[in-house]
Symmetry: C2
Subunit: 92 residues, 2 copies
Amino acid sequence: MTDAEGLAAIFSCMADPTRLSVLLILLEGERCVCDLSEETEASVSSVSHGLRLLRAGGLVSRRREGRHMYYRLADHHVEALLRTAIEHLEHI
Amino acid sequence: MTDAEGLAAIFSCMADPTRLSVLLILLEGERCVCDLSEETEASVSSVSHGLRLLRAGGLVSRRREGRHMYYRLADHHVEALLRTAIEHLEHI
DNA sequence: AATATATTTGAACAGTTGAACAAATGAACA
DNA sequence: TGTTCATTTGTTCAACTGTTCAAATATATT
């Protein structure tokens, strides 16, 4: 996999409004799937499918707490990238 | 268009290896289509189609010089975003 | 004007992705 | 154990995307 392929794969994860909404919400802190479903107004199934992709891309991680699965941004690199993206993209 | 939709649309432009390669090359300076085609090893047509999307997304601009069309990153926000993305995504 | 080069455009096709639904799994609790 | 709730997984189908080829456009050169 070339650099461009790797980077493009990550951008693909962020190229969907539902998945990106999830990431933006996670900037505020961790959330369980049903919270994310409510806040994004997307079905639980759709959110879960999206989270799977995000997890495969290394963008989020999760922990179980009872019946709930709490997701959060994988690390500060993801957070920093999102914040930078927001800041700059507002001006594009 | 919501924030997430707008940001996702921009990420979509960067979510393709060919288009992202073009953007990464343009970090070094402006290029004509045939240069980009050679450097990315993609067909001229494919590169041109990609550039059209990038231009529609406000990520690149261009100028004509004779028969050649020179493309460059639209502004420093695009450049800064790409550099930040590279830096952080390398660690994801 | 005729030709060559650079780029753009449109159509078609193959491969990929997203949405919706149903079924399966994992955990809590009566 | 059986039930319920939260989440995940698999499947199907429609919609989207990237690539290629052929044709069109734009500019330069002779």
